[in-house]
């Protein structure tokens, strides 16, 4: 069998990529996808760790995180749509009125 640590390493890489994606992409939707990537990494970590320790709670936790992710998506997309309809852009780089 594969060492759970390897799964978690993959998860860490996913998290890392997701985080970097947050930094380099300017489309709000894609940024949001990156967050989903990160959450997936978290889920993978939880499941792998739970398995390594013979604990089912990891999987239960994943269930909740999935729900959270879904709810976040709904609201997030609503916000993005709302902004798009006013500004006709989804690029966060154009949202920098407030600074300093």
């Amino acid at each position: 069998m594969v060492d759970p640590g390897l799964y978690m390493t993959v998860a860490a890489v996913l998290f890392f990529i997701g985080a970097l994606g947050m930094l380099v992409r300017r489309n709000a939707l894609v940024m949001f996808m990156c967050i989903e990537l990160m959450l997936n990494a978290v889920n993978l970590t939880l499941i792998s760790a739970g398995r390594a320790m013979n604990d089912l709670n990891g999987q239960v936790a994943v269930f909740f995180i999935l729900v959270v992710a879904a709810a976040e998506v709904v609201v997030g997309l609503a916000i993005i749509v709302a902004i798009f309809r006013r500004r006709s852009t989804a690029s966060v780089d154009e949202l920098n009125e407030m600074r300093g």
């Binding site: 949001f32 970590t45 390594a52």
Partner: protein
């Protein structure tokens, strides 16, 4: 087959709020009543919830007195009903009530969306209330998300101003990012301990020596970052100025207050209960964040020309001061500080909202010129509140600062205290700047009418600031009992 371990009392206040939110939404759909009715429902639920919180408090006190603390843990250890949680919840309720009252103008102007607005506020409070009382980190995360998502929406909930869009999206993206980081930290702590409950982690770390704690340390770090974001500690604070400035004036005080209370209550509980065996490793980091927050917040606040941004940076500085309390390992000091600061913050934003006016989105410092003439009530209240935030003696802010500073010193962080007192001096400068403009410069602009509810909010905030400052025992004695399990 197990049965759920139900303890209605433990969730009764949260339930009351959630129910009220649901009722508000349903009533709106069915009857489309006037905003006032919805407001009364919300107010009623807050009163009921507060009453239930008091009942909880008494029950918890009895249980502690009887030595039967196990009943304080409910739903299979999912949530706790300890004094710490109840106090935090009560603070949230008070801030919510004050927030709604001071932002009532905003809510009633929402028109048909008033119901959603109120429901979101109540739900956010419920979420944060869960957050401060939860024992399970996933539950805590759920509460955090419930609260945060509601706040993202609230931040964008205005039709007048493009700034609100920007605030909402910034808050949302950054908040989600931070949440993901936080929950990854939770996952890593789980990987290190096989525990998801705070008490469980604490027991585990207290009884076993982890040979290779790296994963736990990373987890702690990420949790600190995630919650550091919520409480806007530097360098995770960047959202705060923009959101405070862009979000509707009527809601910012609430938004800022509850996020700080819940974030810090959770952070203190995790750090001081769950992973306190690692305090040798994270306290220096906490001190570092505290120093950066205090200095950066104070210095940046000096140069702001928008009062809301200034208050945001001052919030960053306050986050640093509260972190000093964590360095002092004193949960009661933190709770006191949170209660005091949140009340001041809501009060201050009530003034900001009143000065900016129902439609105005600007809170430029110039608007405050000669405020002492245009509205002595607003100017006087804001002065007291600002002085309270500055931590001048005879205000609650001083007692709060004194408490966390002395705890930090007693815990061996002398230099942190020295930096903290110096930073608070820098902070004086920008609080005074507003006072200067209000009192020492004259302007002939029209007087500002202050709604009755706002007067009440200000009265309470000012009285609380003064009473807790002059007779700190009135609150400190309570806080002293509000210990985490």
């Amino acid at each position: 087959m197990q049965t759920p371990d139900v303890n209605w009392l433990a969730i009764a206040p949260d339930l009351a709020l959630a129910l009220a939110a649901a009722i508000i939404l349903l009533v709106e759909v069915q009857w489309k009543p006037r905003a006032r009715i919805l407001g009364l429902i919300a107010a009623g639920s807050l009163v009921v919830a507060s009453g239930l919180a008091v009942v909880q408090w008494l029950a918890a006190a009895d249980a502690v007195a009887a030595g039967n603390v196990s009943v304080l843990s409910a739903f299979s250890g999912m949530v706790l009903m300890d004094g710490y949680a109840i106090f935090g919840r009560f603070a949230l309720l008070v801030v919510t009530a004050m927030g709604i009252a001071s932002g009532w103008q905003f809510f009633s102007d929402l028109g048909r969306r008033c119901a959603e607005g109120l429901a979101l506020v109540l739900l956010a409070t419920t979420g944060f209330s869960i957050m401060v009382s939860s024992n399970n980190l996933i539950m805590l995360f759920l509460g955090l998300e419930v609260g945060s998502i509601a706040l993202y929406v609230l931040a964008g909930l205005t039709r007048e101003d493009k700034k609100a869009d920007e605030a909402a999206i910034k808050y949302f993206l950054m908040g989600s990012f931070a949440s993901a980081i936080f929950v990854y930290g939770v996952a890593l702590i789980y990987a290190g301990t096989r525990q998801l409950t705070i008490l469980g982690i604490g027991d585990f770390l207290g009884s076993f020596i982890v040979g290779s704690p790296g994963v736990i340390l990373i987890g702690i770090g990420l949790v600190i970052v995630g919650l550091g974001f919520k409480v806007s500690a530097a360098p995770f604070h960047t959202w705060a100025p923009d959101v405070y400035q862009g979000a509707p004036a009527g809601i910012v005080g609430y938004l800022a207050g509850v996020a700080k209370i819940a974030g810090f209550a959770a952070m203190a509980r995790i750090l001081l209960t769950a992973v306190d065996d690692f305090d040798w490793s994270f306290l220096p980091v906490i001190s570092g964040i505290a120093v950066v927050s205090m200095l950066l917040g104070s210095v940046m606040a000096l140069v702001q020309s928008d009062v809301r941004r200034m208050l945001a940076y001052s919030g960053v500085a306050h986050a640093g001061f509260i972190l000093t309390g964590i360095a002092g390992s004193s949960s009661d000091g933190i709770l006191f500080y949170l209660a005091v600061y949140a009340v001041q913050l809501v009060g201050a934003f009530a003034v900001v909202a009143a000065v900016s006016g129902p439609s105005g989105s600007s809170s430029d410092i110039g608007l405050y010129r000669g405020l002492s003439r245009r509205s002595p009530v607003l100017a006087g209240s804001l002065t007291v509140l600002l002085l309270g935030m500055a931590g001048l003696p005879l205000t609650s802010g001083f007692v709060a600062k004194f408490g966390v500073f002395s705890d930090a010193w007693f815990n061996g962080h002398e230099w942190l205290v020295v930096v903290a007192v110096l930073a608070s001096v820098i902070a004086f400068a920008f609080y005074l700047r507003i006072v200067v403009i209000m009192y020492m410069e004259d302007d002939d602009a029209a007087p500002i009418a202050v709604p009755g509810l706002v007067r009440w909010v200000l009265g309470i905030a000012v009285l609380a600031t003064l009473i807790w400052g002059i007779l700190p025992g009135s609150l400190l004695n309570i806080v002293a009992d509000a210990l985490p399990l």
